[in-house]
């Protein structure tokens, strides 16, 4: 999945070196060495926890150049919104020498079992960077069953993992659940490439449900239609343009342009264009 010359462990180590204070960095270097030397499952879990006592949860702020390196190294992987503590925890994880082996998979599952919210975020964020990603599909789908939104987003957003590994059931559930809990769909990597008739029908059903309840349709819902809307979808979109609130009408207008295919990126109506409807981005 990664290009040959991209080493996520070194990449994260560089970012952390420039951003942690000497005491935090000392602790992390020591902990990574300990992990690399081989470590018992409970001690591994303790080090993941202890990161909260040595590394602040401040934003990572990787900067434009690093983000470009990340995208070039692993398409769809975007640590723009990570924090320092998550980054340190992922680096700890990647320091294991047995990443491809069963011993690591077992210890990782133990870490998930005993994790707090911050650890869950880091562990799920790490999945895209692990070799043999297919080993963790059940765990990733389990992460999407959470109602803690930041944990859900750690699986679903800014990561190539779901689009690559989820089957259709898990993928469709991820997309519709994102709409339910207000997670940003435009940040689900690979969405535009994995749209389907089934997904469009589920999205349209949700839109009808919301309207019957007298509630607004989330603008990002229209992103899930793509070219699979059919006549029903076209009518639904036209109704939204005519009667929806400002954001909803604008999003539906954008989705109408997607109905017939073409080059969405060139036409300014790909999933990235729906960032405009994300309240967290526009505040």
């Amino acid at each position: 999945m990664t290009t040959q010359d991209f080493d996520p462990r070194a990449f994260l180590a560089d970012l952390l070196r420039e951003r942690l204070d000497p005491a935090g960095l000392d602790w992390l270097e020591g902990a990574c060495e300990e992990v690399a030397g081989g470590i018992a499952s409970t001690r591994f879990g303790a080090l993941l926890s202890l990161a909260s006592r040595h590394v602040p949860a401040r934003p990572l702020e990787p900067g434009v150049a690093a983000l470009a390196r990340a995208e070039a190294g692993l398409r769809g992987w975007n640590p723009e919104r990570w924090d320092l503590r998550e980054t340190a925890r992922v680096r700890l994880l990647l320091s294991r020498r047995d990443l491809a082996e069963e011993t690591f998979a077992a210890d990782l599952e133990q870490a998930f079992r005993f994790a707090d919210e911050g650890e869950l975020r880091a562990l799920y964020k790490a999945l895209a960077l692990l070799p043999g990603g297919e080993r963790f599909v059940w765990r990733a789908a389990e992460g999407c069953r959470t109602n803690i939104v930041p944990v859900f987003e750690s699986v679903a957003c800014d990561s190539p993992y779901p689009a690559r590994h989820f089957d259709d059931i898990a993928w469709n559930q991820l997309v519709i659940k994102a709409l339910f809990i207000g997670a940003p769909l435009w940040r689900v990597h690979g969405l535009d490439g994995r749209l389907s008739e089934d997904l469009a029908r589920m999205a349209l059903d949700l839109a009808d449900e919301r309207r019957s309840a007298g509630r607004a349709v989330p603008p990002e819902l229209w992103l899930a239609l793509g070219t699979h809307a059919g006549e029903r979808g076209r009518r639904s979109l036209e109704a939204e343009v005519a009667t929806g609130d400002t954001l909803g009408a604008r999003a539906a207008a954008l989705a109408l342009r997607r109905l017939d295919g073409g080059d969405w990126s060139r036409d300014g109506c790909d999933q990235a264009a729906f960032r405009a409807f994300d309240p967290r981005e526009t505040r």
Partner: protein, 298 residues
């Protein structure tokens, strides 16, 4: 005013309660691990319970602008199931060092049995080893003796008295707790442990030094607004506002901040609640309009 309720079992309260707490000015809470009204039968139940204290309950509170900390421990009642207690003590370190865990607790005595003492000592030793604060539950029956013994054993194991909080005190036990140098917490229960009026008299008599008011609200008859209500009564009856502030906010903050897990600056800023940001109808909102940019009044 703002309040800190350093002992409440949020997992047995509804979102209506949490909303009311936020509106009444409760800014932060500590949820100590306790029993669930009936005994658990396997260690997995403890694992899932501890996990909810550092996960879902924290998240639920955050949605209403209430900062949630917790204390991890094996309670005294269930310490009497010795086989299970051994297993729980084995997994305890996996939770006790997590982010936002401000103490080992609530631990101590119920019937004052040998099994309870064994679990109590083991957890005190863990607290000493990791330089943690200890929250002690004092027994309903033989309370005076229970508190005396809790303090003596903690001292023997090496817990500094400044890191020891003895909870559920009353008029009969307060002097012994304070004289030992420990912190004296009082649980305001409508019918049993301590009423608000009695609490007012206690603060008038003993002053604010090392005295803490909490609700211990749980699944029984109890009041999640006990702390603000008691503060109100204190003010109405002429207690110095600075004393009220210390007993319902400052003291709890001071003792539990020793954990290094409380960001006092963050607590000082007015909470902003934006459920739109992190919540949808499938979480704790069920179709109602999310609250947006409305600071919690206090």
């Amino acid at each position: 005013m703002r309040f800190f309720d350093p002992h409440i079992h949020v997992s047995s309260r509804t979102t209506d309660d949490i909303d009311a707490m936020a509106k009444a000015g409760i800014r932060a809470v500590i949820e100590p691990a306790f029993w669930l009204g009936q005994p658990r039968t396997n260690v997995g139940s403890f694992i899932d319970y501890f996990s909810s204290l550092i996960g879902w309950e924290r998240f639920r509170c955050s949605q209403f602008g209430v900062t949630h900390y917790c204390a991890i421990g094996l309670n005294s009642k269930e310490a009497n199931d010795e086989g299970l207690a051994r297993e729980v003590l084995e997994i305890l370190p996996r939770f006790a060092l997590k982010e936002g865990v401000v103490a080992i607790g609530e631990i101590g005595y119920d019937e004052i049995t040998a099994a309870e003492e064994k679990a109590y000592q083991a957890q005190l030793a863990f607290a000493v080893e990791h330089d943690m604060v200890v929250m002690v539950h004092s027994p309903h029956r033989d309370k005076k003796n229970g508190i005396r013994r809790s303090i003596d054993v903690a001292r023997e194991v090496g817990v500094p008295m400044g890191k020891l909080v003895i909870d559920h005190n009353n008029e009969e036990t307060v002097e012994e707790t304070l004289d030992a140098g420990a912190w004296a917490a009082f649980t305001i229960y409508p019918h049993t442990k301590m009423g608000s009026q009695r609490m007012v008299e206690l603060v008038k008599q003993y002053g604010p030094e090392r005295i803490i008011v909490d609700s211990s609200a749980d699944w029984g008859v109890s009041d999640p607004l006990a702390v603000p209500r008691t503060a109100q009564l204190m003010l109405e009856q002429g207690v110095d506002p600075a004393w009220v502030e210390r007993t319902t906010w400052g003291n709890a903050l001071e003792v539990y901040s020793q954990s290094g897990q409380i960001d006092r600056e963050a607590l000082d800023t007015l909470p902003r609640v934006d459920q739109r940001e992190t919540f949808g109808e499938n979480t704790v909102l069920r179709g109602q309009e999310p609250r947006v940019d409305r600071p919690v009044p206090n």
